[in-house]
């Protein structure tokens, strides 16, 4: 790439990765479902940008399609679907927590530190030169943990979907950072699966709403033992 220097690209990737992490943390500290969806859209947009930068900087053209899919599906289509869902079912848009925001943020900070050490250990053991940008790998692992944390502590059905998608974004980012993405056809298949999964979960949200008149998963506690 003659026009943009490789180190500039590296810097930009770092900046976008940081922005992705910020959106994940903001989701944790958010109280409104609408914000959840918007922040997720923003996060996916940044993720698409990282993928584009990888294409620019390292000439991995097969990621180009994955980058466009990320923006089209995760930053535009899925947020639109999810917004429609919450408009349609007219749910109370405030989120209840089982852990309050301050404690959640502290835990997130802990998770980021943990992720960094895991990332270091993955990279240090690799023989030969590592293609990885270690900071990006740390961010991606932190995203998986934060996504899981959202799913475990936020009690709306929709927050579970956002948590799952945040985890997926983390995994995609990890693929970008250490392997420059999976082979194209695999990547496309993964996108297809995720899209179907979210649509199916969206249908269930409607049905849960129909039968329980709320979409707080607290009411999903009939099945025990």
């Amino acid at each position: 790439m003659g026009i943009i220097h490789l180190s500039t690209i590296g810097l930009l990737i770092d900046i976008f990765a940081a922005a992705i992490l910020v959106t994940a943390v903001l989701i944790v500290s958010s109280r409104s479902l609408v914000f959840y969806i918007r922040l997720f859209a923003l996060q996916s947009f940044f993720l698409g940008a990282v993928a584009l930068l990888v294409v620019l900087g390292y000439g991995e053209t097969h990621i180009l399609i994955a980058a466009f899919l990320t923006i089209a599906v995760k930053a535009i289509a899925l947020p639109m679907v999810l917004t429609r869902v919450i408009e349609r079912i007219q749910v109370r848009k405030e989120i209840e927590f089982s852990i309050n925001i301050t404690a959640s943020l502290l835990l997130c900070a802990g998770m980021v530190i943990l992720s960094d050490s895991v990332a270091q250990s993955i990279l240090s053991s690799q023989r030969g030169e590592a293609p990885a940008v270690s900071r990006v790998l740390s961010v991606s692992i932190a995203m998986m943990l934060i996504g899981l944390f959202i799913m475990m502590t936020r009690k709306k059905a929709l927050t579970q979907i956002i948590g799952l998608l945040t985890m997926e974004n983390g995994v995609f980012l990890s693929g970008l950072s250490i392997t420059y993405g999976m082979p194209l056809i695999v990547e496309v298949g993964i996108f297809f699966d995720i899209m179907i999964a979210v649509l199916i979960l969206g249908v269930f949200v409607f049905r849960i709403n129909k039968t329980f008149e709320t979409i707080s998963i607290d009411s999903l506690r009939n099945l025990r033992h």
Partner: protein, 488 residues
């Protein structure tokens, strides 16, 4: 190549045809034909693999060897039996007005897609495809679990999709780490995700990265298989799905997930060595058996009882794989087959009991032998089979596994294994004998399944009995080929 097209193409064709037609009769014929053809092709595959050891498609995306052939026979066979049984089952449900025409259509359509997604996993050489197929099995079964649209079934389906998707997302990270460890080693990077290329260079892969990858993969595919402590979706999903679907999940889907675990187990064991993967398998296997014990002893619902039995038997198989001697592998693979047959038999008879009594709660079901004598007999004999009594097949495979445990020096795990099995046996017999024997609490007007369906169940019981007495030489050879693959 034609075999790959047959095994993958038949269920796809079945799905497309089901999508086009809506008549009950036509849907039944399509589904039975597509699963039957897949089952036949599986035998062809097994025969082919015996001659040529491994089969590749030209670009190496698809792959089959002794292990895949054996499991494809079990899975497609289960699908065929379930497809046959579904005919009578759904007709009775339509008669009772529990199922209408659009639901019937959805059922058969999703059953075909479900079979396709399982074949996708079992034939993929590319680990990325294997992942895509695994997630697709969850998606294909989501609406089948939610089939009756009760509050509880939607809750179960929600839990099922969310938990399995989280698990499988973690597995994807494991696959990416595996890919990462191979990028510098495998020449053409497009092949770095092919299981067969990874096996060739297993010794050069980075052991530290691969260990971490295996932990994520064990959690991920362990969730799909229903290993404790990631099993929590299983009782709900098996309890709520229609009986034939629960049967196919317990006999087919579980084995598909176990197959994925085995592929990574073979790879990581070869690359890392030192008993890393096998120790994890022994621990998780015993944990699953142990976790199942209290839930089986204190159970109220007989479909959930069977679901916990599935958690137990997945534990048994994973435990046996962890022991890691050829004898243990043989026991594990034989158990895969025995457990599949027994689970289909039990879930389907449980479905009959449920339909006759209109309840899954065990204390509401008594004296089944007087109400539905055929199904009640099958149920009680099936329970003796699943809890490992001679002369049934499960006794043989469990006995093989225990002796492999003792001879390999895993004395304490083997003793724990016997303890868990015995306790579970006591719980099972206690509950089922109360269901089957005695007098019905109240007059039950329910009727049993049609005679063709009952005959099918009788044949399954006959197969279990046969496997307890002798193992046909072709089967023996088939399992032996699969054992050779497991040895790496």
């Amino acid at each position: 190549m034609i075999l790959f097209s047959l095994l993958l193409g038949t269920p796809i064709a079945g799905s497309i045809l089901c999508a086009l037609f809506h008549k009950r009769r036509v849907l039944e014929i399509i589904t039975v034909t597509s699963s039957g053809l897949t089952f036949l092709s599986a035998f062809w595959l097994a025969a082919k693999v015996m001659q040529e050891t491994t089969l590749h498609s030209p670009q190496g995306w698809w792959y089959a060897d002794g292990l895949s052939a054996y499991i494809i026979i079990i899975v497609s066979g289960s699908a065929f039996v379930v497809a046959l049984y579904s005919i009578g089952y759904l007709r009775r449900q339509i008669y009772k007005r529990k199922v209408d025409a659009p639901k019937l259509w959805l059922y058969y359509l999703l059953l075909n897609i479900f079979l396709f997604t399982m074949m996708l996993v079992l034939l993929s050489n590319n680990l990325g495809f294997l992942w895509i197929g695994s997630e697709a099995t969850t998606l294909a079964t989501a609406f089948l679990v939610a089939f009756y649209e009760r509050e509880s079934s939607i809750e179960a389906a929600w839990k099922y999709v969310v938990i399995c998707s989280v698990g499988i997302t973690l597995a994807l990270f494991g696959i990416i780490l595996t890919y990462f460890s191979a990028l510098h080693v495998v020449p053409a990077s497009g092949n770095a995700l092919h299981w067969s290329s990874l096996m060739l260079v297993a010794k050069e892969l980075d052991p530290a990265v691969l260990k971490l990858a295996f932990i994520f993969i064990l959690i991920g595919f362990g969730t799909k298989a229903g290993l404790a402590p990631m099993h929590t979706w299983k009782p709900d999903a098996y309890g709520e799905a229609p009986a034939p679907i629960s049967a196919l999940m317990a006999a087919g889907l579980v084995n598909v997930a176990l197959y994925s675990l085995m592929r990574f187990y073979i790879l990581v064991d070869k690359a890392v060595g030192g008993g890393f993967a096998s120790t994890l398998f022994i621990i998780f296997g015993l944990m699953s058996m142990g976790v199942a014990v209290p839930f089986i002893l204190l159970q109220r619902d007989f479909k959930r009882l069977l679901a916990y039995s599935s958690v137990e038997h997945v534990g048994i198989i994973v435990f046996a794989l962890g022991i890691g001697t050829p004898l243990a592998y043989f026991g594990a693979l034989l158990h895969l087959l025995n457990n599949a047959i027994a689970k289909i038999l039990l879930f389907l008879t449980a479905g009959n009991v449920r339909m006759a009594y209109g309840s899954r709660i065990m204390h509401k079901v008594t004296g089944a032998i007087k109400v539905i004598p055929a199904s009640a007999t099958l149920l009680i004999v099936g329970v003796f089979a699943i809890t490992g009594w001679p002369p049934f097949g499960i006794f043989v495979s469990e006995f093989t596994i225990v002796s492999a445990g003792f001879t390999s020096g895993n004395i304490v795990p083997a003793i724990l294994f016997i303890g868990f099995i015995t306790t579970i046996f006591v719980g099972f017999i206690y509950y089922t004998s109360r269901m089957v024997l005695g007098e019905p609490h109240r007059p039950v007007k329910g009727s049993d399944a049609d005679s063709a369906s009952l005959l099918l169940l009788g044949l399954l019981l006959g197969a279990l009995l046969m496997l307890g007495v002798f193992i046909p030489s072709q089967l023996q050879q088939c399992i032996q080929n699969a054992v050779n693959v497991l040895k790496g």
